[in-house]
């Protein structure tokens, strides 16, 4: 047991060492950390309440009073973008968690048992993947209706096939390995084999996928809100803020700039960090 622990610690140290040397991953990590901190401490950081505006100060450009200007209802843009980080993080975490749990379970069961069950699961995944990109999420919203909860569900279901496929592939490649055979030989039941042997050894691709998916989910969710199908006003969600800014593109372009920059940098952060994690967890994948 101690030996196994030492090997695990050694591996983690090796991954950390490689990650530290990857400059892009460090930049990504810093962006992600900042984003999470801003989301957590939004009430402390935001200078004004996000939904309270002063109608005499509509669409003001950036100034000493309002660092990023005000929107069409005279609300402070900076405060709304800061609170927007909260909404985005909440959507990302819930949606990716839904996809992670459902996708991982389906992938493990399909990959481990194979046969008809696997076939049925994978065909259902194929059906979900038949809807291109954001179109799947839109189709789910068509059934569920717009709103924050349904948006999280839609973005979650939208990401299930990716997790299912990756976990299935990993389980298939592992299930004939000696350590699994050995576990079976000493009489471990399927549940134990799945959760104590196969799942821990599939963690690397799952972690990478979770990180990269945070980026995709943010793009999708903000896209849905931009279309009016996701988070509804006055909630300060970045996509919804951009949707509102469209009408004032000529008179107040700053309103459309900040939420877009926020989405881009957070997506970039997760992408860089995810790519870095992949390279560090499996250096063979590096070009």
């Amino acid at each position: 047991m101690n030996e196994a622990k030492t090997i695990k610690t050694g591996q983690a140290a090796e991954v950390w060492r490689r990650l530290k040397r990857n400059r892009a991953a460090i930049v990504g990590g810093i962006i992600v950390t900042l984003f999470v901190l801003i989301a957590l401490f939004a009430p402390v950081l935001a200078p004004y309440p996000p939904n309270e505006g002063d109608l005499t100060k509509r669409l003001n450009p950036p100034s000493g009073e309002y660092l990023l200007g005000t929107d069409s209802l005279g609300r402070d843009q900076l405060s709304r973008v800061i609170y927007g980080a909260r909404i985005s993080l909440q959507i990302q975490v819930v949606a990716v968690a839904i996809a992670l749990v459902i996708g991982t379970l389906l992938g493990m069961v399909g990959g481990y048992y194979g046969g008809k069950l696997d076939n049925i699961i994978m065909r259902i995944m194929d059906i979900l993947l038949a809807f291109p990109g954001i179109f799947l999420a839109i189709s789910i919203i068509a059934v569920l209706g717009p709103g924050l909860t349904n948006l999280m569900l839609a973005a979650g279901i939208y990401s299930v096939p990716q997790f299912a496929r990756i976990v299935r592939g990993s389980v298939i490649s592992l299930k004939e390995k000696e350590f699994v055979e050995a576990a079976r030989a000493v009489g471990e039941n399927d549940l134990n084999i799945l959760f104590r042997y196969l799942l821990p050894n599939s963690m690397a691709p799952i972690i990478v996928q979770t990180t990269l998916r945070m980026a995709t989910v943010l793009l999708t969710a903000s896209g849905l809100s931009f279309l009016g199908l996701g988070v509804q006003p006055p909630t300060p969600e970045w996509g919804a803020m951009l949707s509102n800014a469209r009408a004032y593109l000529i008179t107040a372009p700053h309103v459309a700039t900040v939420p877009g920059l926020a989405i881009m940098f957070v997506v970039m952060g997760f992408n860089l960090f995810g790519d870095g994690l992949r390279d560090s967890l499996d250096p063979r994948l590096r070009d």
Binding site: R123, I124, D126, I127, A130, F131, P132, G133, I134, F135, L136, I138, S139, I141, A142, V143, G145, P146, A215, L219, S222, G223, F226, L227, G228, L229, G239, L242, A245, R246, L249, I250, P253, A256, P259, G260, I263, M264, F265, V267, M268, N271, L272, D287
Partner: protein, 306 residues
Amino acid sequence: MSRYILKRLLMLLPVLLGVSLISFSLLHMVPGDPAVLLAGEQADEEFIKRVRSEYGLDRPLYTQYFQFISHVVRGDFGVSIRNREPVIKLLRERFVFTIQLSFLSILIAGFIGLIAGVISATKQYSLFDNLSMVGALFGISMPIFWLGLLLMLFFSVQLRWFPAGGKGTLLHLILPAIALGAASSAVIARMTRASMLEVIRQDYIRTARANGLREFIVTYKHALKNAMIPVITVFGLEFGYMLGGAVLTETVFSLPGVGRLMVEGIFQRDYPVVQGSMLLVATTFVVVNLLTDIAYAFFDPRIRYE
């Protein structure tokens, strides 16, 4: 090859069946009486009754499903609740537009992506390589709709080079196509670069060079041809994704595409329109993927034997 195509066609059937089942169940999964939903909220009792029997909504679900399918294969997607026009007519008008937009978009994305990818690979770690890879990172991280707004702001509002919306000429399509294709050009550039880097390290490329062939011939005739094989798949996939992403571009630039039609359908609770759009886009995407796979198998015979 024909066996491979047949196999892939057979695999398509359950997927299309599933897609049709999902779009069929839409009407039954949203809250409310399907007959009232189809007749419209202002409809009188008599009309609701007529719709119920016309659509067979009083019959068992499986009969309704078969009726739905038999109508769909004949191109009958029902009638729009909002303007009482046949859905197929709306789809036809809007779909042509989305296809045009996606096509122009993949052309632009392919052109930029391929050139950037090849130069990046042949000049690995050069300034160009670094800049284009940073550009690619921005490309995949920028939300389509935000990029669309920025392009509109600079090129339509400030410089007045392009119209800010509407349809009619190629000029109307350029900015939307760039917005839609930015992420794809980034993906294509990355893929081309990675694939080229792998190919130019192969022995036969070294042999070609050792034989005294000019670098240009080695790169563009020997290396690029083989490096293109995995890139073809990306082209197909990206084109497919554009059909979905187009909804965002169409919204930014107020363009009459099928994605926009579907979103309007959702807002107006025009379910036949939503069903039709879902079916059409998913089926097209699946067919594009099939064609991509076939093209891939054609260029790389190893695939067929897997």
